[in-house]
């Protein structure tokens, strides 16, 4: 497995999450269905193989461990990411976050505000609940990739 392959597998998974799972999540009636969807959508992201999880990729600030890999396409000015977490709910939330920012230009990513974006999608409760889960730490790490 290489970063290129992971990026290639992550991209369509994120499009599907954005187009299909996100609307389903916002319309889910009870908390059980919401969490089932969250966990399924986390599963759609290809896992980063153990061998590739270098300590430098570890995102601190989470109860559970999470990892982030980054690739910047200079010609097209686009940031692409691959991420993984050992906790499934966290991975689901991170997948949603990534589906919003993957492929953004440097300027777009710099301007992106997670709280606003989650609010627009009626996902804000998830953001406040998961303050300790490292979602904000992951977002900060993604933003650190900007130049």
């Amino acid at each position: 497995m290489t970063l290129d392959q992971l990026l290639a597998d992550t991209k369509p998974a994120l499009s599907q999450i954005y187009a299909e799972d996100l609307p389903e999540l916002t319309q889910a009636k009870d908390w059980q269905s919401k969490y089932r969807i969250l966990m399924q959508l986390g599963r759609k992201l290809p896992p980063i193989p153990e061998k590739m999880k270098q300590p430098s990729l570890l995102v601190k600030g989470c109860e559970s461990r999470a990892w982030l890999m980054h690739y910047y396409n200079q010609h097209q000015d686009q940031h692409f990411f691959v991420l993984d977490s050992e906790a499934r709910i966290v991975k689901g939330l991170m997948a949603i976050m990534l589906s919003l920012v993957n492929g953004m230009s440097n300027t777009e990513l710099k301007k992106f505000e997670l709280a606003q974006a989650f609010d627009k999608l009626n996902l804000k409760p998830y953001l406040s609940q998961s303050r300790g889960s490292g979602l904000n730490a992951m977002m900060a790490r993604i933003k650190d990739c900007c130049h």
Binding site: W31, M39, E63, S64, R88, I89, V90, Q129
Partner: protein
Amino acid sequence: MHSFDPVNFRGQFAFFQHNPGWVYLDNAATMHKPNVVVDAMAMFYQRHNSNVHRGAHTLSQHATRAFEQARDDIAAFINASAREQIIFCSGATAALNQIAFGLMHTVLKAGDRVLITALEHHANIVPWQIHCSKYGVILDIVPLTADYKVDQQAFTELLALKPKVVSFSHISNVLGHIQPVTQMVSQAKAAGALTVIDGAQGIVHDKVDVQSLDPDFYVWSGHKLYGPTGIGVLYGKTAALELLTPLFGGGEMISEVNFSHSLFNILPFRLEAGTPDIAGAIGLAAACNWLQSINNEQMKSYKSMLLKQFFAGLNKIDGLDILSSPVHNAGIVALNVQGEHPADVAELLNQQTVAVRGGQHCAMPFFSLLGLAGAVRFSFAPYNTEADVATSLHALTQAVEILTA
């Protein structure tokens, strides 16, 4: 002494009236405060607030009297032989840092050994690491048995290396296992070591008599014993406290200061630099006095009845790895849903308003020994109810269903 009545007991906590939907099983992290504690602190601030030991005016004398009365009450609570053996600090962490630092210059020299166990909270590991590595002191760790208890055979063997200090927890904060402290203290003493007990969980469960248990130091945090946050107790035998170099310098702890050197004050002030947490000490003493008025044996047997019900319920849920033993357990159950991360389990319980802790509980070395990401910890208190047990079991069943669907 009053007999323990669960309904009356729970009724003394305003928290539960304000949060009727919640099942609170994170008591090992912090406990709720009975109204007597909150009232005592409010009373101090509203009527008696002044700084202590600066008795130029009568108000300060009143505050000093109340603060020193708190020291007396706490000394009586653990049956300390003298009031100056109670040192107020911010909690067990601060106390252990003071002890580790304070013994380095006086007792521990390069090549000496300190012995702790593999079951310790970070607060009883990291201070020793920091100071031992700085002064060339060797830190030994007692390993665990297969059922996660401190290996007493290995403990005896490591004592043969003649450690100068032995430091261990009374009750494990992760698993709830009660250590054979009386035996460990007497063995360590026979080996010529100073003994330090981290009583953060222990004092909540058992009535502690420091004269009969006889350690050199026993430390605990107020907030885990129905008291406020920010206050804790470093108990030490007078001779042991005299060995401690103060970690903090400042006001109160000196008798004379000039620019070339200072003379330290007597105990307990020598180890209490700066303005103390006056209201905190008064709140903690109120908690101790209140607890002492309730039959502890009845309270313990009520808690163990809840624990028994909880364990019985767990046995009916498939797919759990239970780390805690029901035997010699102070009311803490650590478990995992097989193949699932504890953070996920804890979040699904949170969705059902069951408050537990999921993670490593400040005991990373223990979990790396086990090769686990952590555990979900349910910790019970005497204000919990049989309904809490039933609700948490139902919530856990739901969580398992969602995770394994």
